[in-house]
């Protein structure tokens, strides 16, 4: 079984400042990793994913994440946030031999002018 820990429950940030959301996972087998975003009153949307290959993955809306196998981490970053990035962000993990996603508890990002 796999699990995900998001280390920050809330992250306030000023507009145009950088943001990093931390995610650590545990699994006894190889994994695929994902970040999803949930805007207010909406379902989740995929931001980016790591399946294999380059450990630095780029997603939509200027987000990127780096897979670090030795530290079992998959932190999400954006160099300059906008008001519209205010949302809840979920890290998720799936074992390569399964098709069920396990989600973290989420990080609420609030961007202020």
């Amino acid at each position: 079984a796999q699990s995900v820990t998001q280390l920050d429950s809330q992250v306030p940030v000023f507009e145009e400042a950088p943001v990093e959301l931390r995610c650590n996972y545990s699994s006894s087998v190889s994994v695929y990793l994902f970040w999803y975003v949930q805007y207010p009153n909406q379902g989740l949307q995929l931001l980016l994913k790591y399946l294999s290959g380059s450990t630095l993955v780029k997603g939509i809306n200027g987000f990127e994440a780096e897979f670090n196998k030795s530290q079992t981490s998959f932190h999400l970053r954006k160099p300059s946030v906008h008001i519209s990035d205010t949302a809840e962000y979920f890290c998720a993990v799936r074992s390569t031999n399964d098709y069920k996603l396990s989600f973290g508890a989420g990080t609420t990002v609030t961007v202020r002018a």
Binding site: V4, Q6, S9, Y32, F34, Y36, N41, Q42, G43, L44, Q45, L46, K49, L51, F90, R94, Y99, K100, L101, S102, F103, G104, A105, G106
Partner: protein, 113 residues
Amino acid sequence: NAGVTQTPKFRILKIGQSMTLQCAQDMNHNYMYWYRQDPGMGLKLIYYSVGAGITDKGEVPNGYNVSRSTTEDFPLRLELAAPSQTSVYFCASSYDRRGEKLFFGSGTQLSVL
């Protein structure tokens, strides 16, 4: 494109009542999932299906039932509603076995009083 459609959007139930949350997708996806989202807890998998006629339990199946008679529909049934089932419910679907991208519905907010 409709994507994943959930109905109703909101519902209030009394303890002991029953109801069915509807979920339909028009993308011909084989894999469908039901999650519940509780504050600070992330998303927990209730049930999933890998195709018509095939369903299986997720992490938190107690108090729920599902059926999958067609590829398009995946209803979730609550037989005897309890306050612990107050939550936001999300249906999701994916195209392939790896579930590399889930498409989510907009959710059903359920209160059991």
